[in-house]
């Protein structure tokens, strides 16, 4: 606080410390994505339990060996009907919101300015220090910017996990693959696409759990306020 005239460390007043954190577009797309992901998750579970076995290759059924047998019952009482309707509705909301987020993030240089890690942060020593700090829950005090682990994680979610989930979802469609067969052939088959779709979903759930955990550990009220009102205490 140079203009305060005090020498460092000054005690910032609560008024001065509340600063802009997230842009309106980031906040709106964050919450719409969160809602659609919730829809995708419960509907995905409803679809999965109608056949909780995963395979590799083109085909798989009760008469063939499986890759993963999930410890879940086969529930065939029509849960996948509403599950499928909700899954595709949520998928459209998620994809359209994601496109708005990615294009505006490119135009506004959100990714370049806020998410791409500095080269100096990517060294082995620096990364392992941040990593071990996180493991010991010695969390960074400065919340005005994302730390390197956050940056890597968010980029991975936006540019790896969601695209893989969308790609493998499309690769299961006989209509879409009639136009773009390579979507499924490079994965090794329709059942491989289903399995990778499941792995992407599990990875996103793991991200979600850690994400919510970190929000709680680093000041739930302040973090929620920042993502809702756009302003937070740094």
């Amino acid at each position: 606080m140079a203009e305060s005239g005090h020498s460092w460390p000054a005690t910032p007043t609560a008024e001065a410390a509340v600063a802009p954190r997230h842009s309106g577009l980031v906040r709106v797309t964050h919450w719409i994505s969160a809602l659609s992901f919730f829809g995708l998750l419960i509907s995905g579970a409803a679809i999965l339990i109608s056949h909780p076995r995963l395979y590799w290759g083109e085909t798989g059924n009760r008469g063939t060996p499986s890759l993963i047998d999930l410890p879940l019952p086969f529930i065939l009482a029509g849960q996948n009907g509403w599950g499928r309707y909700l899954h595709f509705l949520s998928a459209w909301v998620c994809v359209l919101t994601g496109l708005v987020y990615v294009f505006s993030g490119l135009l506004s240089r959100h990714f370049r300015n806020n998410l791409i890690p500095a080269r100096s942060d990517l060294g082995w020593a620096s990364l392992s220090r941040v990593y071990s700090d996180h493991l010991r829950l010695r969390l960074p005090k400065d919340t005005s910017t994302y730390n390197v682990l956050q940056r890597i994680t968010y980029l991975e979610v936006v540019f790896l996990l969601f695209p893989v989930a969308i790609w493998t979802g499309l690769a299961m469609s006989p209509a879409v693959t009639s136009v773009f067969p390579w979507l499924v052939t490079i994965l090794g088959g329709q059942q491989s696409a289903r399995t990778v779709h499941f792995i992407a979903a599990v990875s996103l759930v793991l991200f979600l759990l850690i994400h919510i955990g970190m929000v709680c550990l680093t000041g739930f009220r302040n973090r929620m306020r920042a993502m809702i009102t756009g302003r937070g205490v740094h």
């Binding site: 595709f88 209509a175 136009v179």
Partner: protein
């Protein structure tokens, strides 16, 4: 301390809402005209269904072909799902080798008529090795032999205003429909053979409509009747097929 919105802002917002609403209305009319609205378009889920159906219809052409496989890809154990029709008439037909089975075609056609299985076998056959995926998640690959639906539709002379083919199973309550894009597609077959043999009972003997660009449940077994129509509202609850009546979408290209 928010200031009240200026008059100009209000006018701009009003005009853009109006433009957006009329734009949507125009888009809906165009989509309807080009047959991009599925019959189960109602409600919140209908928005997703309409986006999927319209998106895929715009993406696909009448010539985009479901993937075909090699003989070595054929599944050793093609899963039998569900039971044959539990009606006496089916048992009788099965014992008689389906000699009296008839496929009747009516509705918006120039020359409605019946076909026996022997009639259908006379026409140029197509054999294709395709994937059949159930919406539950399992799948198998088999070789299917039959006459393209397009060939039979040509024989009865489809009227230009027809938009859908509705098909009925001997299994009570089972019926479905497809648009003309799928009906005239070269891979849509009135199937009577599977893996080099006659179509087995469990897979729909004597006649199954295979629609390989959609999920398995659109490939209805034990087909007895087709009708061509321009309006699906007249059938059942007006949702296009039996599956939406118990919660499954009409269009299953996913």
């Amino acid at each position: 301390m928010s200031t009240p919105p200026s008059r100009r802002k209000l006018i701009t917002a009003g005009l853009s809402t109006l433009a957006g609403a009329s734009g949507l209305a125009v888009a809906a009319r165009i989509a309807h005209h080009y047959g991009l609205i599925p019959p189960d378009h109602g409600g919140l889920y209908g928005i997703g269904e309409t986006l999927t159906y319209a998106g895929q219809r715009l993406l696909m052409s009448g010539r985009s072909m479901a993937r075909e496989f090699n003989r070595s890809d054929i599944s050793k154990a093609p899963v039998v799902n569900g039971r044959p029709p539990e009606v006496e008439a089916y048992e009788r037909q099965l014992t008689a080798g389906f000699t009296d089975w008839r496929l009747s075609i009516d509705g918006m056609v120039g020359r409605p008529r019946d076909f026996s299985i022997a009639d259908l076998r006379q026409y140029p056959a197509r054999t294709q090795i395709t994937h059949l995926a159930c919406e539950e998640g399992w799948s198998f690959i088999a070789e299917w032999t039959g006459v393209p639906l397009a060939h039979v539709l040509n024989l009865v002379g489809v009227l230009p205003q027809a938009k859908y083919v509705v098909y009925f199973s001997m299994d009570p309550g089972w019926w479905d429909s497809i648009d003309m894009s799928d009906a005239l597609h070269p891979q849509t077959l009135l199937t009577y053979g599977m893996n080099g043999q006659e179509l087995p009972k469990g897979h729909g003997a004597p006649l199954r409509l295979r629609v390989p660009r959609q999920l398995g449940y659109k490939s209805v077994k034990y087909i007895t009747r087709l009708t061509l129509t321009d309006d699906l509202k007249r059938f059942g609850k007006g949702l296009g097929s039996a599956p939406p009546e118990f919660g499954y979408s009409w269009y299953a290209g996913i």
